[in-house]
């Protein structure tokens, strides 16, 4: 049986007063997408740095494809592709030249590197921009070229550190699609993200990290069940009895907000919206607004650790997670 792509045990890493990793463990299975989910400063990039032989940890053991990252760093590097948090491309070289250079440094012959570069440029929709300086690329193009550079030698394990942060929804979808294709081609992917829905979309397994420790691990579905599911928020107009509305919808009233919160059952949010709309129709009540709200990273952390994500100083981070996702159930839900 081949060695697992990655096993990490008891990683510790301090930067002065800051503890970046605090007894972190991780096991990545072959052929899967494993997401490392955590807020700013959780230790995601530090962990990836240790896995990719860029950062030495103070204590703990990491094996990548069976090789120890300290003793056998070169063998580890031959097995991995790294796409770091910031794009790391030569801005002056053309897109194709970047790929060919990284391929040649991986030991590929010139012709083989060129062919592989063309293949990747085509696959990532960069063929038209292949002979332009990277400094003329948009953020999304850079990110895709960056990922292509990490794939030049078909690594066994690819690290993607926040691959979609800062991308618009369309570019994000392109990156997601690329990740799915990478996995279909047989590469194992470890990706870090701050976004619950990204982990949900891509990952087979999710490890939630905060303050350098694993706070939860499981399948996306399992984690979401532990974190509480979707919720439907119904806003009643003035003059409607919110308490009565709550009991007829099977929810909880928040009179101050004139709002009723209905927890979705195991069938999920869409079914809950349908049920709410049907009930409102039967009752003949016209409401101001219906929102489907999914759990946010804040809530994940609240339910997992009892505290929200914090900065090093212990102050809650307001922007640490994406704002609540608002689904277009609103318009359709008016009755």
């Amino acid at each position: 049986m081949p060695a697992p792509p990655l096993t990490a045990r008891g990683l510790h890493k301090r930067y002065g007063e800051t503890t970046a990793l605090d007894g972190f463990d991780l096991e990545v299975e072959a052929g899967a997408v494993h997401a490392l989910l955590g807020p700013n400063g959780a230790g995601k990039s530090t962990a990836v740095g240790v896995f990719a032989t860029l950062t030495r940890c103070d204590a703990g053991e990491v094996r990548v494809a069976g090789h120890d990252v300290r003793r056998d760093a070169v063998a580890v590097r031959a097995a991995i592709g790294l796409v770091g948090q910031g794009t790391a491309l030569d801005e002056v070289l053309h897109g194709r030249e970047n790929l060919v250079m990284f391929g040649r440094l991986h030991g590929m012959a010139r012709q083989a590197a060129r062919e592989r570069a063309d293949e990747l440029l085509e696959a990532f929709g960069l063929a038209d921009a292949a002979d332009r300086k990277v400094s003329t690329y948009s953020g999304g193009m850079r990110r895709r070229l960056d990922i292509a550079a990490g794939l030049i030698r078909r690594p066994a394990l690819l690290f993607l550190d926040e691959p979609t942060t800062g991308l618009d929804p369309r570019a994000r979808n392109e990156v997601w699609q690329a990740v799915r294709e990478i996995v279909a081609a047989g590469t194992t992917v470890l990706l870090t993200t701050q976004y619950l829905d990204e982990a949900d979309q891509l990952a087979d397994r999710v490890t939630v990290i905060d303050h350098g420790r694993v706070v939860a691990e499981g399948s996306p579905g399992g984690l979401k069940r532990r974190m509480g599911g979707d919720r439907v928020l119904v806003t009643a107009p003035l003059g409607v009895d919110v308490e009565a509305l709550a009991s007829s919808l099977g929810g909880v009233a928040e009179p101050g907000l004139r709002q009723v919160v209905v927890e979705a059952g195991p069938e999920g949010g869409a079914a809950a919206v349908t049920a709410v709309v049907r009930a409102l129709d039967t009752e003949g009540v016209v409401v101001d607004d219906i929102l489907l709200r999914r759990p946010t990273l804040d809530e994940v952390f609240l339910s997992l650790t009892g505290t929200g994500p914090t900065t090093e100083a212990g102050v809650p981070v307001p922007g640490a997670s994406r704002p609540a996702e608002l689904h277009p159930a609103t318009e359709g839900g008016r009755s």
């Binding site: 590097r77 790294l82 770091g84 491309l89 040649r104 030991g107």
Partner: protein
């Protein structure tokens, strides 16, 4: 492929990449040549009339070897800026995550910078000949002088890589750009140390830049501005030793700076 051959191959790939930067953005090397030309015009023609060389001789043939050596020293900035940029942009980390020899990136950088400086030196030598400077020390002496200039450049290169890895940010780069000036003037590049106050003259006489410039003057058969003494008598030896000392000191420091990136 042996480890050495693999390292050389990887270094050459990096050298080609670094050279492509000069080719795509030629302003850095072009300005650096223009800068040396400007120094020759300023000192050779504007100020030179007021400068006399101890022991006699014209100022221009005294000045030019000093400018050659100085331009090699200024190469430290180009090296440092390129290394600092790669580190800042994350390119250094990407190289570090590749299965290549740890020596390949600095060696590649060295190859590119030395080639670049060799071209610059050629332009300056030819320019010197055009304004009347002559190397009269024979082919052997002339070639040895060029080799010593590039050897000095190599030492500056090692220091430049070290600085590029250690000082981050624009402040550090500016500090070095400013500090090379006193280092340039506190030498025999522009005037003979004998004309300086005694203790300053001593420091200037013993600077690595002075050793290379003095050796070149002797080998090119140009006025040396020195009337004897240990440094003047052993200029070529010092021009070999000084860079060797700098390389011996800064190579381990540079290796340590690379390792510290993993902190």
């Amino acid at each position: 492929m042996t480890a050495v051959a693999a390292t050389l191959r990887q270094s050459w790939i990096i050298t080609l990449r670094d050279l492509k930067h000069w080719q795509r953005e030629p302003w850095t090397p072009v300005f650096s040549v223009l800068f040396s030309v400007m120094l020759v015009l300023m000192f050779g023609y504007l100020l030179g009339g007021a400068i006399t060389i101890p022991g006699g001789g014209d100022y221009l043939p005294y000045l030019l070897p000093g400018i050659f050596a100085l331009s090699m020293m200024f190469g430290i900035e180009a090296t440092m800026t390129a290394v600092a940029n790669d580190t800042k942009k994350g390119v250094t980390d990407r190289f570090r995550a590749l299965p290549i020899s740890g020596a390949a990136v600095p060696l590649g950088r060295a190859g590119a910078d030395l080639l670049n400086s060799a071209v610059e030196l050629t332009v300056l030598l030819v320019g010197g000949v055009l304004i009347g400077w002559r190397a009269t020390g024979g082919v052997g002496g002339t070639l040895l002088a060029v080799a010593l200039l590039l050897w000095f450049r190599f030492a500056m290169l090692v220091i430049g890589v070290f600085l590029g890895l250690t000082i981050r940010g624009e402040g550090g780069v500016t500090a070095v750009q400013v500090l090379v000036w006193p280092a340039g003037f506190l030498s025999n590049a522009f005037v003979a140390p004998e004309s300086m106050p005694a203790w300053l003259g001593l420091v200037a006489e013993w600077s690595p830049l002075s050793a290379t410039a003095a050796a070149c003057r002797q080998l090119f058969g140009n006025p040396t501005g020195a009337s004897g003494g240990f440094v003047a008598d052993n200029a070529v030896l010092l021009a070999v030793l000084w860079p060797a000392v700098l390389v011996a000191v800064f190579t381990p420091l540079t290796a340590r700076a690379y390792r510290r990136l993993a902190r």
